[in-house]
């Protein structure tokens, strides 16, 4: 354990100068490669001074399971071919839902090592071709296949067990969880790339309108909480988690262009520096010291904060891995925004909303933006990139001049966590 606490520095500084996201959603006719090309073209457009695609020297792409979702392994060279960048080296990184978080880390280290100056990193996942039960099975392969899966645990199940432990230990209740979903859908409603660009209230009104059109009994919802407490509208997935506690199944891709700091201003006047990176592993939940915290998230954030020379007080906003509502609450505690057990109250008090003191998941999070698992880590980085450049449009954080943002990307149920500190250098 001693070695993970050692303060580490990059050999040289690395910046992001372009960011691209495909539309997130369900696209029956698009394959992984098509989604990645869409994200790449969006990234090329985003680079203020433009660039020559042939300047990319190396790439890392995060992808969890094209093997099981699409029966396609060895995805990296296909991406290289579809982008027209062969023969440069492209490597696929698999770390479950933290795949592109880890891909970004590899890209940063490739530049910091001095070997490359211009590196493409991204991620992609095509998930919606399979029925839900099969997707559940594919996602479960990121848990321990010998000792968790045979016990009947699923992904939502493991986070359901974490939620139950949090409810037992603290004053957390089901409404706290749903308030995370309401907040993230409010943010997602402002994100043109999101899978669900609707508030929970809008979805409630649509359900009532549909019943009216069909001549069915119109549900008597007074508030969005009434809607979310209706077992028909919001069925149980893995008690105490319901449909609206879970991130959706999504197709999508993301990518950013990393360059060495020395050349960053050739691309833009406003590069965003990767000030700190951290990555850690954790054990299965049954072997973890705590049932209400992810030890990998604590270790990864400490590494990243130390490298950047910041404390949590310096952080203006965060994108955290809300694969489930409880995961966002636990993340805000693990990252140090709130003391253990205080996360639920912070949601209640609006502290994590767009205009709160700790805005969390301004993009809509995985919950509303969507969760194409291999694309999500870099997707989070892209939101922070836009927020720090003041170009997040309607969902721009209300606090003036944000300069430091972090991302928290979890693989599996905490087996991997990647935390990045992004900073706009003045």
């Amino acid at each position: 354990m001693a070695t993970i606490n050692k303060k580490r520095q990059l050999g040289r500084q690395v910046s992001i100068v372009g960011a691209g996201l495909s539309q997130f959603g369900a696209f029956p006719d698009k394959d992984t490669r098509d989604l990645f090309v869409e994200a790449f073209q969006d990234m090329v457009q985003s680079i203020d001074r433009g660039f020559d695609i042939q300047d990319i020297e190396c790439a890392y792409v995060g992808n969890y399971s094209s093997d099981l979702f699409e029966h396609q392994g060895h995805t990296a060279p296909i991406i290289a071919d579809w982008l027209g960048i062969t023969p440069i080296p492209v490597t696929r990184i698999e770390n479950a839902c933290a795949s592109s978080g880890s891909a970004l880390r590899e890209g940063v280290m490739a530049i910091a090592s001095g070997m490359y100056d211009v590196v493409l990193v991204g991620g992609m996942e095509k998930m919606t071709n399979l029925p839900t039960n099969d997707v559940t099975d594919v996602l479960a392969t990121a848990a321990d296949g010998l000792y968790e899966v045979p016990a009947g645990l699923t992904f939502p199940g493991i986070f359901g067990a974490i939620a139950k432990a949090h409810m037992d230990r603290y004053e957390t209740n089901l409404d706290h969880l749903l308030k995370v979903a309401i907040k993230n859908h409010s943010n997602g409603a402002l994100n043109p790339k999101a899978q669900f660009q609707q508030t929970v209230t809008t979805m409630m009104e649509r359900r009532m309108a549909r019943a009216r059109e069909r001549g069915q009994t119109v549900p008597d919802y007074k508030t969005d909480m009434d809607f979310l407490n209706d077992a028909q509208a919001n069925p149980w997935i893995a008690w105490p988690l319901r449909l609206y506690d879970c991130a959706p199944i999504t197709d999508g891709a993301s990518c950013v262009l990393l360059v060495s700091d020395e050349i960053a201003h050739n691309f833009t006047d406003t590069p965003i520096s990767i000030a700190g990176i951290g990555q850690a592993t954790g054990k299965p939940l049954h072997d973890s010291d705590e049932l209400t915290s992810l030890s990998a998230a604590k270790a990864a954030s400490q590494q990243a904060y130390d490298m950047a020379g910041i404390t949590v007080a310096d952080i203006d906003l965060a994108e955290v891995h809300d694969c489930f509502t409880i995961a966002e609450i636990v993340a805000t505690e693990d990252l140090g925004f709130f003391a253990p057990g205080e996360g639920p109250r912070a949601v209640d008090e609006g502290r994590t909303a767009l205009d709160g003191d700790h805005p969390i998941n301004t993009s809509g999070g995985l919950k509303a933006k969507g969760h194409p698992v291999g694309a999500s880590g870099v997707g989070q980085v892209i939101e922070i990139y836009h927020q720090l450049r003041g170009e997040a449009g309607e969902r721009q954080v209300k606090k003036a001049d944000p300069t430091v943002g972090i991302t928290h990307n979890v693989g599996g149920t905490g087996g991997t966590c990647v935390v990045n500190v992004l900073r706009r250098e003045s």
Binding site: N133, P150, G152, G160, D168, W236, P240
Partner: protein, 135 residues
């Protein structure tokens, strides 16, 4: 090789001996319900089989309604959720396990901290799963 420390041996012993048999590190005493060839604490490889008593307490749980394909084949689903969770074994370590003998449709009635015992009554011969039931 029946004496190798791995998951096949774990499930074979569960099926044949009707016991949860894990390993103990002879060097540092670390207990692991999952048979491992190397101790994760002291990194020694001086392991021995260690039968656990089968007594445990329920640490946390979930009741699953959207089920894996394998559990759907056993009749579980939206109308018949099953309970699974983490149990703290009497000897200290914890392990993931099915929780039988409780009502998955009424999670409020399932209490963490309750006493459990190993349940080997209805082991699936093809793919045995670790299960506990109320003591």
């Amino acid at each position: 090789m029946a004496d190798e420390f791995n998951s096949s041996a774990f499930y074979n012993k569960l099926r044949e001996e009707k016991k949860l048999v894990g390993v103990r590190c002879k060097d540092c005493g670390h207990l692991s319900p999952e048979p491992r060839p190397m101790c994760p604490e002291c990194h020694g490889s001086n392991m021995e089989w260690h039968p656990f008593s089968g007594k445990a307490k329920l640490s946390t749980f979930t009741c699953i309604s959207i089920v894996p394909v394998k559990m759907a084949a056993k009749g579980y689903g939206r109308d018949n959720p099953y309970c699974t969770g983490i149990v703290a074994l009497e000897e200290g370590p914890s392990i993931s396990a099915m929780i039988n003998g409780v009502d998955g449709t009424n999670p409020q009635g399932i209490k963490t901290g309750m006493d459990l015992v190993l349940d080997v009554d209805d082991l699936d011969e093809e793919s045995p799963a670790l299960a506990f039931k109320p003591a």
